[in-house]
């Protein structure tokens, strides 16, 4: 068999998968010098030193082998304690916790564990770029709910009702949200839970930004009455502990689903990186102070950026979490791709066009404030100059 007898060696599923809009923008930005990037979806801090040191030390002691498939028991116990202490949800470390290669792998595993071919999974638009492709790769069909700017891009229970068909299996929610920074309050989660229960859906709750909420206390979806038994809580170390490169996350949930996820994981991944697990252990044991310091700094920068963008004329609401703001650029008459591309070319500031996060993101851009105050200040000046010249 050669390509001449077939159009392509690729699987149809993969061939039909849309290339990532982020990737295209990355390629463009990478050809330029002196770019200030507000396009980065990760902390600007380096991992706290005690975590790095703990990982070094584990290597020195020779911890270089695989761990248990589900992750080191000590780490699973620590994750379980952490969730109990911070979010009042209890999971048995023996069979309800799996340590993964980033929250990314947890999302993939959860979907592969529950989706049958043709079943539908509801995703929020605008939302994290990986959800819909991950659903497709798991053999399911993603169904988007378009959240509205007047609702601060928060999912409305009625919208779930409208999206549900007899094929609907699950919904992925994400609060605080990437790219909008919106946080769902306990009340809002309660109302969403009513619909979820009525239609017997499974929920993948991506809570990777849980530590980074600035105005109200964070509520885990699993802590909502009767939701724990139908929720896979997904989180990780990337954002809260500034550990994106370590590739470590986790999922907790009902025994049946977590054990299914471990089954896939043991065949396809074996275990998450051991040295990263040792770092994560230290993060959970002694990382609180660093997390709070980083959080204070993000909150201050959020206030600065929201204020300045509104002054410049790019209106945005004050998001309650994560490290993104999602201003409207509709007043400029440009599409979000055009805006981002022209801003990059004329002023050397990289932002991400809202449209890469789904159709509803059109007319918006995502600016990350995980950048130094000096860079943010300069970026705001450049954006103002760009807008003044339009």
């Amino acid at each position: 068999m050669s390509p001449s007898t077939k159009n392509s060696y690729l699987s149809k599923t993969v061939a039909n998968l849309e290339p990532s809009g982020i990737r295209r923008f990355f390629d463009l930005a990478s050809t330029m010098d002196n770019v200030i990037s507000l396009g980065v979806g990760e902390p600007d801090f380096v991992t706290p030193w005690n975590i790095i040191e703990a990982s070094y030390h584990s290597l020195e002691r020779g911890y270089t082998a695989y761990t248990a498939n589900a992750g080191m028991l000590e780490l699973r116990e620590e994750i379980s304690n952490y969730l109990k202490y911070n979010y009042l949800v209890e999971y048995n470390p023996l069979n309800q916790v799996i340590v993964t290669v980033g929250a990314s792998q947890a999302i993939d595993l959860a979907l592969r564990a529950i989706v049958n071919p043709g079943e539908e999974v509801i995703v929020i638009d605008p939302g994290f770029v990986s959800y819909a492709p991950a659903v497709t790769l798991a053999g399911g069909t993603p169904v988007a709910i378009n959240t509205k700017s007047e609702d601060e891009f928060k999912l409305q229970p009625q919208q779930i009702e409208e999206a549900i068909t007899e094929k609907t299996k699950a919904i992925i929610i994400c609060s605080p949200n990437n790219p909008t920074g919106s946080v769902l309050t306990k009340d809002e989660l309660n109302r969403i839970a009513t619909v979820i229960e009525k239609h017997d859906l499974i929920v993948l709750s991506d809570e990777i930004y849980a530590e980074l909420t600035y105005d109200e206390e964070f509520t885990s979806f699993a802590a909502i009455t009767k939701m724990k038994e139908r929720t896979v809580l997904i989180s990780g170390f990337s954002k809260a502990f500034a550990m994106t490169g370590w590739r470590l996350g986790y999922a907790t949930g009902p025994v049946e689903i977590i054990e299914a996820m471990i089954k896939i994981h043991q065949y396809t991944m074996m275990s998450a990186p051991t040295m990263a697990q040792h770092g994560a252990l230290e993060a959970l044991k002694n990382g609180k102070k660093s997390v709070l310091d980083m959080k204070t700094s993000y909150r201050q920068r959020r206030n600065f950026v929201v204020n300045t963008l509104n002054e410049i004329g790019l209106s945005c609401h004050q998001p309650g979490g994560a490290f993104y703001v999602f201003p409207s650029i509709k007043s400029t008459g440009l599409s979000s791709e055009e805006f981002a591309e022209q801003l990059l070319k004329t002023e050397r500031v990289a932002v991400v066009p809202g449209s890469v996060f789904g159709a509803t993101g059109e007319g918006y851009i995502r600016c990350s404030y995980a950048a130094s105050l000096k860079q943010l200040d300069e970026a705001m000046k450049r954006i103002k100059s760009f807008i003044d010249q339009l």
């Binding site: 982020i22 980065v40 204070t296």
Partner: protein
């Protein structure tokens, strides 16, 4: 309010040149309120001054030496260590004086142009004070970190330019 004062102090401590308007937006106060808060903290001597952190070894013409001196003293009746500390910290070449727990009493940091200059200070001024029992002088060979600032920090951003 207390909390905002702490936040303001921490911001100024890491960057004394932040503009009042920027601080105001960051901690969610008006510019006027922020100015008043700074005035108040200055009046209460919580803020004593605004200075730059300078890595003198990167200043070519500059030559200088720092020494940390452990000083054992006999405390004076009625005044404890304070009087003797004052007699030491009044010297302009003395940059810091701390009362310590442990093997010695005062930790004195001194800056001078040369080692000889510092040795003279120790032998002529410090060890001749009545209450001083002994001194141990340590010369600083290299500064790695001072007041929370790492001196040879690479500050390049290691992240890729655009990511999800």
């Amino acid at each position: 309010m207390e909390e905002k004062e702490l936040e303001l102090l921490e911001l100024l401590e890491t960057n004394g040149r932040l503009e009042v308007a920027t601080i105001a937006t960051m901690i969610n106060l008006s510019v006027e309120e922020t100015k008043q808060m700074i005035d108040k903290l200055e009046n209460e001597y919580a803020i004593l001054g605004y200075s730059a952190v300078i890595n003198w070894s990167n200043v070519l013409e500059y030559e200088g030496v720092t020494a940390m001196i452990d000083v054992k003293v006999t405390p004076v009746r009625g005044a404890g260590f304070d009087k003797i500390a004052e007699r030491i910290y009044r010297y302009p070449e003395v940059k810091a004086v701390y009362l310590m727990s442990g093997a010695y009493d005062l930790s004195v940091s001194v800056e001078g142009k040369t080692m000889i200059e510092i040795s003279r200070f120790v032998s002529d001024k410090l060890s001749t004070l009545d209450t001083v029992i002994s001194t141990t002088t340590h010369f600083v060979l290299k500064k790695y970190k001072h007041d929370g600032v790492i001196f040879d920090e690479e500050d390049d951003d290691k992240r890729i330019l655009v990511s999800p």
